[in-house]
């Protein structure tokens, strides 16, 4: 995952359904233009922040799923490679496998020309070792690509959250500042 950020998104663009938070150049102008008073604008911004957080939760869950999927595919590729390497030698592959929790049994795998792959939805298909390799590699590439897109989405989302949080702080500070000035004027 690249640490350096890609070109910063200009204010006003959205990304894959996530609206961008518009950057406030000047608090006074923003409040006058939106016609909201300080409290109304603060609650609006808070609401936006909450919505962003909800989307973040969803994206994080997707990311976790993908991150769990990738080692699984790696394991499958490993096994197919092991079977293929045994093919030429003429020896069977002897292995201990788990029958049930804590119970293992021994299996002897003769010349393995094909493997069965679990495709999900209670479907399992038989493939030749080469086909299985190709399919698993393709799945791995897709998973990695999706993960990258997801990571960029999350970066964008977190940027929008930060912008919103900073705007909230600025509106609040501006309000405190205004009140201070009013108090100062009253005393003079």
């Amino acid at each position: 995952m690249a640490a350096a950020s890609t070109t910063a998104t200009a204010a006003g663009e959205e990304r894959r359904g996530i609206p961008a938070a518009s950057f406030v150049e000047d608090v006074q102008t923003y409040l006058t233009q939106s016609g909201l008073d300080v409290n109304a604008s603060l609650s609006l911004l808070q609401e936006r922040l909450q919505q962003y957080k909800i989307v973040e939760m969803k994206l994080l869950a997707q990311q976790r799923d993908l991150q769990a999927k990738i080692p699984d595919i790696d394991k499958c590729l490993d096994i197919v490679a092991t079977l293929q390497s045994k093919k030429g030698s003429g020896e069977p592959l002897i292995t201990d496998y788990e029958v049930s929790e804590g119970i293992y049994s021994r299996a002897r795998i003769e010349e393995a020309d094909s493997v069965c792959l679990w495709l999900g939805a209670n479907v399992m298909l038989e493939y030749s070792c080469d086909e299985a390799n190709a399919l698993l590699k393709k799945n791995l590439e897709n998973a990695k690509a999706s993960l990258e897109v997801l990571a960029t989405d999350l970066q964008f989302l977190r940027d929008q959250e930060t912008i919103t949080q900073v705007t909230i702080a600025r509106v609040y500070n501006w309000d405190v500042h205004q009140r201070r000035m009013k108090e100062a004027m009253k005393d003079t």
Partner: protein
């Protein structure tokens, strides 16, 4: 982010981008710390496995591939373990390097942001 006491300093789009960048780097930094922890654990396990292998008398070792334990001759297991260790070491090195780069970038940004906003901004871990 801490709310300042009615700060005078205006936040420009450039400042906002710096703050965003700091946030991104900080997130990546925490992810890296997790990944480094896992990588170190993997390295340790591989070390332990290597040590156990030396102590082992038998010729056939049950080597875990995926969910099953295949019977493999000791030398093959040895060479597999060696290459796994190499890979793990390289990965750890890469991660540590990335961590250093990120820390350096974060320090730079802290200088810039504290310089402009002083007390009004808080970039430390709570």
């Amino acid at each position: 982010m801490q709310q300042g006491e009615g700060t005078e300093a205006q936040v420009t789009w450039e400042d906002q981008q710096n703050i965003n960048k700091f946030g991104r780097l900080n997130n990546r930094f925490h992810e890296l710390e997790e990944e480094i922890k896992l990588a170190k654990e993997t390295n340790e396990s591989l070390e332990d496995a290597g040590n156990e292998l030396i102590l082992l008398d038998e010729d056939v070792v049950r080597f875990q591939v995926g969910e099953i334990f295949t019977h493999m001759p000791k030398d093959e297991v040895e060479s597999r373990l060696e290459s796994m260790k190499e890979e793990a070491d390289k990965k750890l090195e890469r991660l540590e390097e990335e961590k250093e780069t990120i820390l350096a970038q974060m320090t730079e940004l802290k200088k810039i942001l504290y310089g402009k906003f002083k007390d009004a901004i808080n970039l430390e871990e709570d």
